[in-house]
Symmetry: C2
Subunit: 321 residues, 2 copies
């Protein structure tokens, strides 16, 4: 049996796991990232956590095929530098040399949304499929494309940034500096901002009571809860959000015609209040849907484990860097 | 030496050629399509033209590796039916059985924009590259994606319809029935329609003189000519057109990060009045362009020959159906 070490490095938590060649997680654990610390401190924690799960799984370190890491950034294949990890404050970091100091295994780094998409396609909701598009709807919007069971990351391996495709021509300013990005309309942050804007105009909403008048406490779940209870303001926000998301998904279907569209991240937890109207809108708004249909839009199954499994299996399923 | 027969079936002309394994066209010819005739009449003409060029090239029919056909439609890999060729009036046609009646060679059918993209990547402007995205800016907008020197047509082989990705949220009604498609803003037709709309408001434009007051005579070349002569109305139309096209190209770069973006079709003939401002806009409007650059946006080199070469070589470079 082959074993793989995987790490999912997020802005909040570091999660690590031992994954076998059948994509089962044998052992896993997580610790807080405490973002803002130096790269050496965080890499040291990642390595120690990895060694800890290896120990729990009772697999000696030199028995692992590889060490894979998913993080909200990517490595430039020309310079081998980690390009930009926004929520860790890292930019142009020679990340491999930091990692090698602690664990000397073949090491792979990939964007976290790509890892999640791979994990879901190997072991999760899309395991029956070879081709999938995944969107993670959280603080931002991550995108992962799977073609023939492998990560597709663009021809220079720095593409597939679905969150920064243009959804609204000349639209809202995105955190990336461009206008109209999908992320500015379809992230959990965008959903929450829309609710806040509406509450500035009128406080006549359950949502205002649910957050006890402190709009900074509003989250995606609260908005969908209010929506489900028939709150008009929340329903308007959700309806508009779904409209935007459906338009984005329609474009990805028109390009990729993948077998399945997977949604992950906080917003995907909204259940059928999201997926039912969204699926209807996607079918209604996609080119040639009447003639050739549209793929199902489904919720990710593995939640945080998808990132660990995808990262662990990079050795086998990543595009070559 | 291997030889391949290729046909480019358009709404106006049928072009056929003999292509060798080094992507040289040995012989070619074309005849009018006379669209509106029965499928059997048009297929018969395609076959006779193919046999004629084979004869000119002095290659016996049974010496050809394959017969490839590019047309503005695609074959459903499940039903083997030609799905919908708008400008030929065909829908759900068992096209292979018509073709086999005339020429008994391994036969391949592919969308014409995919063939053009392949032709340019094998033998034209992108021959140095393995990964390209091509847009044909004509009556509509065709899209072709090349990954590792092969056509990428989506996982069910009916995707890559870049003309029907959404450019403007809830935008103009497209011929496909959806709203806001790239084609509705970036085709030659869209460019011409924008000029016509402006001329309805004010006739103070060189363009009005150039078409002798008959706006139905306006074409893309006329608009760019007026633009180059300093005509304000034409300049405003061109500026807006380039803005839309740049936004669409930015999205494709963000997804594919291909090595080159190729533009073909009538509008691409506009030269540097198109390409200079367009390239600047693409660099300005693309995610992470400052950090990782953007690929060059270039004019196709082979014009109509790209479709013949791409169609001819389908046997070797198409995705499997």
């Amino acid at each position: 049996m082959k074993y793989y070490l995987g790490v999912d490095l997020g802005g909040t938590n570091i999660a690590a796991g031992v994954v076998d060649e059948n994509f089962n997680i044998i052992a896993k654990d997580s610790i807080p990232t405490n973002a803002g610390r130096s790269i050496d401190e965080i890499v040291s924690d990642m390595a120690h956590l990895s060694k800890k799960v290896a120990c729990i799984a009772n697999v000696p370190l030199d028995q692992f095929t590889s060490w894979g890491i998913g993080m909200p950034s990517y490595v430039n294949p020309k310079t081998h530098l980690l390009v930009h990890a926004n929520n860790l404050g890292w930019k142009n970091i020679p990340i491999y040399s930091y990692l090698k100091k602690y664990i000397d295994l073949p090491t792979y780094i990939e964007n976290d949304a790509n890892c999640a998409a791979l994990g879901e396609t190997l072991a999760g909701i899309a395991r029956e499929y070879d081709n999938a598009v995944m969107l993670t709807l959280g603080t931002g919007v991550g995108g992962g494309i799977i073609q023939n069971k492998r990560i597709y990351a663009g021809s220079d391996l720095m593409g597939a940034e679905l969150g920064h495709t243009k959804l609204v021509y000349n639209g809202e300013l995105c955190t990336c500096g461009q206008r109209g990005c999908l992320e500015s309309y379809c992230s959990a942050t965008a959903l929450i901002n829309q609710a806040k804007r509406k509450l500035e105009i009128s406080k006549k909403s359950l949502l205002y009571d649910m957050c006890s008048g402190d709009v900074e406490q509003i989250n995606a779940k609260m908005i969908f809860d209010a929506n489900n209870m028939g709150d008009e303001l929340a329903q308007e926000v959700v309806r508009q959000y779904i409209d935007y998301l459906a338009a984005g998904i329609s474009t990805f279907i028109t390009i990729f015609r993948s077998e399945v569209i997977i949604l992950g991240g906080g917003v995907a937890g909204a259940g059928k209040a999201l997926f039912e109207p969204l699926s209807a809108k996607v079918a209604e708004n996609t080119f040639a849907a009447a003639e050739i249909g549209v793929p199902p839009v489904v919720k990710s199954a593995l939640e945080n484990d998808a990132g660990i499994i995808g990262a662990a299996l990079l050795e086998k399923y990543a595009q070559m860097r």
